[in-house]
Subunit: 379 residues, 2 copies
């Protein structure tokens, strides 16, 4: 897989620098590591990126210096990058960097910087007496990330596409007599085999009554004939996440299982059919919800219909009911998100079906390609 | 494995409530999910816990309600728990809870609450006009967590102990012709097999020159005869993390490999020998560093000697050089941490050796039990 090239980073830089102007900032301090990766390709779990009009200042400690050198020598090099070593404290190094480059109007990510860190920076900058001020910013890089560029779309398509084979292995592992954990182990081995560098989240194998718990993971319960089993898993490929859920039965499904599964499947199809540019994300949620309400399962669907996918497994756009005091999100071509309605009936179990979609000019492309059968044909 | 019982939670509650008095607070808002788990046994990825003198108020959304009911019916039930449903926004629900219980002096976790969240709470509380004030607190629950209680020690011993078998499988998977990723897959399957609910962190298999990158993970490099390979992995058992590193060679080790490996092993032994109550954590770091400096490898050891282990894979105590402006940490019986010196030589590779130790009344107990051989006897 080609990594995003420097050209793609340049265009991201142009867009983030436009924000510096709009917000009247000398520098924007990026501490969210996912945002750092988006702007620089540097994927360390620590680091600070300081964006200015003419440079990207990357503060990194000893552990990442060699990785940074290697990356800068490749076709994924970050344009206008300057690296700053961090001998001890990141926050000390940040203040030194800001002082040296002469930044006084400094934006920071208010949704990521903690109160403790902010207080320290304000106090320490004041002690230096150079008139540095810190200003809250919200969603600057997240707003750029919500619409994917060409390199990202290609990677997300590849990431989601590789789930086809994983799902086939997963479904074959579901049989009476094995534990949920054993099925999870098979899924995770298949994800490694498919080339994912890691899981996007803890694999869910929720069988029988456990399937009523939407965020149950995988335990020691042994699968039995007649169980309905929710399988929810995803991998990370060169940083990009995919996320899939299928619900299958162990042996012949009961009439209840068939009815709930069909309702969730119809809800999901209705939601996918509603996806196109200009539509509110909440309209996609409503499309799923309306179907489930009509089947008497409205109360059983307690979560949102989907979430954005990209470098984070949960990002914008949120596909939920309209939120009070929140500007509605209108879908745009290039957005990528999950469509995953479910129905959960305490004591009985649950069904969830999830695919990943890319909004296109005319509708959407479903990036995941896995059969929906409740009783898989492979049994 | 027995879960921690309600009696253990009671003692944690007594200690956290003492802090409410000392800090003159009506309520302490816990948003760090690990701290929530420590105080309530609730392990959801979302939730807020409000600690007051007579109750533990757990705010949870739909996804966790059934899990909470199940837990409250078990021997791990949280004493004095009251659950509050969160229909939409956690922050709205928090304000409603605080208003209903009449809390006005409200502490929050400054190292966890973001500036954006804090600003919203202050603004919204002011709009309600009830004189609610929010006060920064630091490390209240973390300070309790640093010394483990009996239930935790038992779980950490079990978690670390299960690595013996995993390591044996891991070492056998190291041979010429396989990729780093394939070795990682074997390790991860063995961790599942051993009963861990998930990995504590991304498995590291760093071979040849990649071993010079302390935070490299696992890639497509194919192992060759003469490689030195760093294997670093750990699992989570009922929430408790373990962390182990061994370095092995593919075929007969070179003289350089033997020399560096012996130096790191000696440094690690010196550090472990320095562990006992009353000693500064930095003295344990110094013990390792002194050995490596004497072998000309001081510059090659760029990270700290260890980190605490518990519900988080990186927690207090930090076993590092003395930090300016930071109160030194004196070791106490019940602390659990890693001892993991390393030496990294760019272009050549690296060696790291890591065990997990529990501070005891007289010294320490090494919780991990895995041979140290550079060329494993199983080859």
């Amino acid at each position: 897989m080609p990594l995003p090239l420097s050209a793609d980073l340049s265009s991201r830089h142009t867009r983030v620098r436009r924000t510096l102007d709009v917000l009247n900032l000398d520098a924007l301090v990026i501490t969210n590591t996912t945002n750092i990766r988006y702007l620089s390709n540097h994927a360390g779990s620590a680091g600070i990126l300081v964006v200015t009009a003419d440079a990207m200042h990357l503060l990194i400690d000893f552990r990442y210096e060699e990785a940074a050198r290697t990356l800068q020598a490749s076709s994924s090099a970050c344009p206008s990058l300057r690296t700053w070593p961090v001998p001890a404290s990141y926050d000390e190094a940040l203040l030194s960097c800001l002082t040296e480059i002469g930044a006084t109007r400094v934006g920071f990510e208010a949704a990521h910087v903690t109160v403790a860190r902010h207080d320290w920076l304000v106090r320490s900058a004041a002690a230096r007496g150079q008139g540095m001020t810190f200003r809250s910013t919200e969603r600057v890089v997240e707003a750029l990330r919500v619409v994917k560029d060409a390199a990202e779309t290609a990677m997300l398509r590849e990431s989601a596409g590789r789930l086809t084979k994983v799902a086939s292995t997963a479904v074959r592992a579901v049989r009476a007599g094995v534990t949920e954990r054993a099925v999870a182990a098979v899924i995770e081995a298949a994800m490694r085999e498919a080339g994912y560098e890691r899981q996007a989240f803890d694999t869910i194998v929720a069988s029988g009554p456990n399937a009523a718990l939407p965020h149950y993971r995988a335990g020691d319960r042994i699968l039995e004939a007649g169980d309905v089993v929710v399988l929810d898993f995803g991998g990370v490929l060169d940083g990009y996440c995919c996320d899939l859920t299928r619900t299958v039965s162990v042996g012949t499904p009961t009439a209840d299982a068939l009815r709930v599964h069909q309702a969730v499947r119809d809800a999901q199809q209705a939601a996918i059919a509603a996806v196109r540019p200009g539509v509110a994300a909440s309209a996609v949620d409503a499309a799923a919800r309306t179907v489930l309400e009509a089947r008497g399962l409205g109360q059983a669907f307690g979560h949102g219909t989907g979430h954005g996918l990209g470098l984070d497994v949960h990002e914008e756009p949120r596909v939920t009911r309209p939120q009070p005091d929140v500007q509605p999100t209108l879908l745009e071509a290039g957005m990528v998100f999950t469509v995953e309605p479910g129905a959960y009936l305490p004591g009985w179990g649950g069904v969830r079906i999830e695919d990943d979609v890319l909004v296109t000019e005319n509708g959407c492309e479903v990036l995941t390609s896995v059969p929906y059968d409740l009783l898989p044909l492979t049994h």
